[in-house]
Symmetry: C2
Subunit: 338 residues, 2 copies
């Protein structure tokens, strides 16, 4: 599990409150299309959850309002008081400064710039809050209770509409100088465009692999005589279609897998980490994981990294947020006690 910066002091009365069943924690996953919340006990066991559409919702204050309403609904559902919620943590789809609690920039889907999300959440909900990048939280989740338990060095790659990585080195999230470590959507591998990147457009890697890339590659090849799937099929539908034997879909799957395998190979050369965990709605597709693994196996002359699917699946970010909320409560209590 990712180590937290806690000292080893004797549990105080406040701390034992956290580790008792009397306190609860909320994890939030702010996605481009859905806002998901989960309320958990101090073991990280989810007791209730909710999901709200965020399609068309870009305003940060409105998102915070939806989160506050969501927490209200969860505690009401479980007949708890709001006061029993000890902390809340949220994952945002963008570059996030967890120290300051600020979302520095999100993709074109949200359009946020320097949003002080932690303060906004604490003001709205009245509990200690923490924020981080959603892919970092997914890596934290996999480290705490998923496919990377006990692994000191690994990379979680989230593949949804875009592609991003959460990097754990020496048991800690590695964030880089400007909180941008793992922003691999712009990686250049054989086959990607060499055109300069454009702001608010998919990166070179994302044009070839990932949800948007697979859709683009499918549209480029599509002809009604060659498939029963529509021209605007989703990546996961295309991959299902490939498994069913459609040649056009297999081309797109192989291209995604090859591009992704090259990216993983490159990251592995830099970090020499044993394990890569694939997650995200597209990254969880078993056919993509298997095809990527096959390409990866051809790349190395000595060793090669392990490639596995996320164990927590769509809950990776949410579980990471819950663990961050639990750690946030502990840290605040210890800070207050010292």
């Amino acid at each position: 599990m990712v180590q937290q910066e806690l000292d080893g002091s004797t549990p105080s009365q406040d701390e034992s409150r956290i580790t008792s069943k009397s306190g609860y924690f909320v994890g939030v996953d702010i996605g481009g299309t859905n806002l998901r919340l989960a309320l958990a006990d101090s073991d990280g066991t989810i007791l209730a959850r909710s999901s709200t559409s965020t399609v068309g919702v870009r305003d940060a204050a409105l998102i915070v309002h939806l989160i506050r309403d969501g927490v209200d609904a969860l505690v009401t559902e479980l007949s708890l008081s709001f006061d029993s919620v000890l902390a809340l943590a949220a994952g945002a789809p963008g570059i996030t400064d967890p120290n300051e609690g600020v979302v520095i920039a999100t993709s074109y889907l949200m359009g946020w710039n320097n949003v002080p999300l932690r303060t906004m959440l604490e003001d709205a909900c009245g509990v200690p809050a923490a924020v981080d990048n959603d892919v970092n939280l997914a890596a934290l989740g996999e480290s705490a209770s998923g496919a990377a338990r006990g692994i000191n060095n690994f990379v979680f790659i989230a593949i949804g509409t875009g592609i991003g990585a959460g990097i754990v080195l020496n048991g800690q999230l590695f964030r880089g100088n400007a909180w941008s470590a793992g922003e691999i959507g712009y990686m250049l591998v054989p086959g990607t465009s060499e055109q300069p990147a454009e702001r608010d457009k998919p990166g070179a890697l994302e044009e070839m692999a990932g949800g948007e890339g697979a859709k683009t590659q499918w549209r480029n090849r599509w002809h009604e005589s060659r498939t029963s799937l529509p021209e605007d099929a989703l990546a996961t539908e295309i991959f299902d279609h490939a498994v069913e034997g459609n040649v056009l879909a297999q081309e797109v799957l192989e291209l995604s897998a090859r591009t992704l395998a090259y990216a993983i190979h490159n990251i592995w050369l830099v970090l020499n980490c044993d394990l890569f965990v694939l997650g995200g709605s597209v990254g969880l597709h078993q056919a993509l994981i298997e095809a990527t693994g096959r390409v990866l196996a051809t790349r190395s002359n000595r060793a090669q990294p392990r490639l596995v699917g996320s164990l927590l699946g769509p809950d990776a970010q949410l579980m990471g947020a819950i663990f961050l909320a639990i750690e946030t409560a502990k840290t605040r209590v210890l800070a207050a006690a010292s």
Copy 2:
């Protein structure tokens, strides 16, 4: 400077011996063509140095013998006793386990496998010794007294015959699970071969950039009507020729620079580190550094890393070895005192 794992205890009598001018330290750079030694005082100031050809010399015992003879010659030159040498550190051109002091594998140039170099050096020289990968030592040198002083996260890229990187994260060398972090010679970028890597052959990146790559690309384009340089010119000669205006040489320089810039861009996406330091006999060529910087500047839509040449130049590895020798002596004395 790269932090060493030392406690903050009061200097003992033994320790003050190290920090006095009475003790000396030897740094060794074991290259594919040259064995270089330097003897320094406790400030890292080089007092004497030597260089011996290792062309055709592959046997590890013979290299160790040459090192012992070299130390002898250096102390004699300075009218010192052998006993005044307090520690020795050597950089090896291959994957090295610094904890066990074993060179796990070198390239085809040396052909070493699991050579217990530290023990061999200690037995031959009778002083505490340490070994590490030569590029890691160059990164340590740049961190201690070169272009990366005070920088917590940076990457040193050594470009000689091949290409390798030394990675410093959070002020410490990051080595990966199998001591292979930074083995970027096999990186795949647009333009590199997608053929599976072959053992003991240059990697995909090394075929396009680096000393061997530039030579290969030059040979592929060479025609006597288009240049006064021979077909078997060296990379640095080709780059000089490009600066003089030869179009063929400029093509090779631009290809090297583009390939290298793509690799740096990819590493930067993973690590989000501010600084890249280019070193090695080929990497120090100013025309390559400038051309690479120009390509890199076109890649990013937001920020970009700084790219500079090594300050220590050909001495980077040697200086890193000297600093490692100094730290080795301190660590051994502290361990003995505790």
